[in-house]
Symmetry: C3
Subunit: 155 residues, 3 copies
């Protein structure tokens, strides 16, 4: 890639991840399928003992496990490294908040999760553009509680 | 636009929004007028039943309603779509924290707000550069409480 | 600089700061030395009455004062201004969370800090690439408490 091609690829990768977050918090799994994930995409969430692939299974798992929650996911400060003209490694800092209900709690029975960590991802340039090929979440800290939001946060 | 012009426009739009946040949390409305908003800019905040335009009225409303508060607004992960060479649509993820006093509470009497959502914006390229033409806020979640900050957050 | 050179410099500066955050929260001071700071870098933290330089001293001070804590630092929305072809001023919005222990508390005895503010930085283009030359932290708000995390946040 020349300089302009690399800048365009960086910008496109940022757009893909922006749509990842928007789709996740709006439960727009069609957006994920159309513009975010590669067909053979793979998701790894060690804290949930979960590895799923290809994307079809990712969609099934995420839509089932996140369907009824309110969530807020934010991403920050990507470290982007191209490993070829059509492949990139990206680390994103992230923070997430999950708001569940007693009827749809987290695995340990909690109704609230607040976490901080990093997505370790690979991207691939497909015929349709750059897409997420794999995503693995690590944590700096994670908190769960059996409350509807933190004290002072309950609606 | 060619590729370089598009990359420059994207970068300029990010700078405009960065100055939006800096001006808002530092109450620097002159910065807003000089480098952020188009003269015919329009602000829409459904949760406050508010639509104001042009920018002169936006400035009046925001400086009056936010003047005495400490605030922290952060923006993330823009989805940027150009609708012409001089117009763009942008969605920004956002989080805000407002710290009020009993003497200057929020509308419902609360002194603290913590919210999450998205700005849905349009930008226009004026003779002075790219500027915000319209901004509309939607929410994923919003919390208000009658405390000076959250527990453990009170100064 | 021409347009492409400026875009490349902007992207490189963002990468440097992304590695600043990643290194800080992973205590990877070698990454700081190799890819983040200029050898004559200077760090100023007014709330801690601290000014340290050159980088060797910055590394000593940060690794000693942050070594045993869990921390989460996020950066947002840089305002970037080039003051020459090899120098830039950047303001980053930031949020940080420090989780200490009773055995390794903050200066006032607290074990938890949550802050919001801005880094005011200068960058310099060295033979090895863009690096942080100076960084000064200002605050919009800061909270400290003698708890292991906020209520609902304790692990």
């Amino acid at each position: 890639m020349n300089d302009i091609e690399r800048l365009l690829a960086i910008e496109e990768i940022k757009q893909v991840k922006a749509k990842y977050f928007y789709g996740l918090d709006h439960k727009d799994w069609d957006l994920w399928q159309r513009e975010v994930w590669a067909p053979d995409g793979r998701l790894e969430v060690p804290e949930a003992d979960t590895v799923v692939e290809p994307f079809e299974k990712v969609r099934e798992w995420v839509s089932a496990s996140c369907g009824d929650q309110v969530s807020v996911h934010h991403g920050h400060m990507p470290i982007i490294t191209f490993t070829s003209d059509t492949e990139a490694k990206v680390i994103w800092a992230m923070e997430d908040r999950l708001y569940r209900t007693k009827e749809f709690p987290l695995e340990d029975g909690s109704t609230w999760l607040h976490g901080f960590g990093h997505y370790h991802e690979t991207y691939v340039k497909t015929d349709a553009g750059w897409r997420i090929k794999s995503s693995m979440l690590t944590r700096l800290r994670i908190e769960m509680a059996n409350v509807q939001g933190m004290p002072g946060e309950s609606a």
